[in-house]
């Protein structure tokens, strides 16, 4: 084995070691989808997340108790080897599809560690909410 090969192998091993550092290993006792799962929305959100090398494990929409307001949960998973940071914004729409103006309509930065998941949660501002739109932006800051 030449010196070059040994050097290359060493660098590769070091990269693997560094990549494995901080990786989260996840398991769950839940083996079936959540009862409030919205499969169509999950596919659409997953298309967005794939562009920044993340993927969507689930989108849930339910009435939060005791407020009885609609709440959305989006589970984002990172199967890569580095922590990824992104900015997201969830906007609520009424039954007619019109935007509901709200002060909670802000961009939020979130990090998800390698191998880990993060659950984005957003509560509808009032009872007229029926749907939501989800915006995503790559962010390194």
């Amino acid at each position: 084995m030449t010196t070059n090969r040994i050097t290359t192998l060493s660098i590769l091993l070091l990269c693997c070691l560094l990549g494995a550092c901080g990786t989260v290993n996840t398991t769950s006792t839940r083996t079936t989808p959540a009862l409030d799962e919205v499969p169509d929305a999950r596919l659409q959100v997953n298309d967005l997340l794939t562009e920044i090398f993340l993927h969507c494990r689930g989108v849930r929409l339910y009435r939060s108790q005791p407020s009885n307001l609609l709440e959305a949960q989006i589970v984002v998973a990172n199967d890569g080897f580095t922590t990824r940071t992104f900015a997201w914004n969830l906007r609520w729409l009424d039954q007619a599809g019109n935007l509901i103006n709200s002060k909670t309509d802000v961009w939020r930065a979130t990090s998800v560690p390698a191998g880990g998941t993060v659950t984005l949660t957003d509560l509808a501002p009032n009872a007229s909410a029926a749907d939501f739109s989800f915006e995503l932006r790559r962010s390194d800051k």
């Binding site: 005791p66 002060k103 909670t104 802000v106 961009w107 930065a109 957003d122 501002p125 009032n126 962010s139």
Partner: protein, 199 residues
């Protein structure tokens, strides 16, 4: 060679970053590790609004009493224990607006309290005048709840890397039993070696 001056001018002009308007708290905002920035404030206020609405306390009060609760929320009720000089209405303004405009509470603007200074002094004077004219008046703007809070920070450094950890905490106290009915915290952590643009 004769195009060099023109090329230099073009390069100079394109390197400039002229002042322009950006989306408040949007991805183009400046992120710093030395102080609270607008994104932290917006994130904290949005989290607090959602947490308060999620608790359902105001909705339950309305069902039990047949009227919307009256909330006292003064800008001075938030104690800023950080090194950032923060204009408190930046934080409280959004929370007040969302809670009042969504119709879950009424805001007490004429209640003076210990400071003796109501938020709306003209309306407070009018309320006093009405009370003097009609002693049996049932108009009572005594709050049912009050909101208070604190902002604290923790700065740390390792080599050239700076980290700022912030905690926004708010508490809702019921005036009927003088006990906290809701409290929540929002933590924000930022790390870097220099300020940058973006979320």
């Amino acid at each position: 060679m004769r195009f060099l001056p023109a090329l230099l001018i073009v390069l100079f002009l394109t390197a400039c970053n002229p002042a322009r308007r950006i989306e408040t708290g949007g991805p183009e905002s400046i992120t710093t590790t030395s102080q609270i920035d607008i994104q932290d404030v917006q994130d904290a206020s949005a989290t607090m609004i959602e947490s308060l609405l999620r608790s359902g306390l105001f909705q339950k009060f309305a069902q039990d009493n047949g009227r919307k609760p009256i909330l006292l929320f003064k800008d001075r009720a938030i104690i800023n224990d950080t090194t950032t000089r923060l204009a408190m209405p930046l934080l409280t303004g959004d929370i007040k607006a969302e809670l009042v405009n969504s119709g879950v509470v009424q805001l007490a603007t004429t209640y003076a309290g210990v400071s003796g200074r109501p938020q709306d002094q003209d309306a407070a004077a009018n309320a006093r005048k009405k009370a003097l004219r009609n002693q049996s008046s049932s108009d009572d703007a005594t709050p049912d709840f009050s909101l208070t809070g604190t902002i604290v920070e923790l700065s740390s450094r390792a080599g050239n890397t700076y980290q700022l950890d912030l905690q926004f905490q708010m508490t809702l106290t019921s005036w009927s039993n003088d006990l906290a009915q809701w409290t929540d915290t929002k933590k924000v952590s930022k790390q870097g070696d220099k300020p940058s643009v973006g979320l």
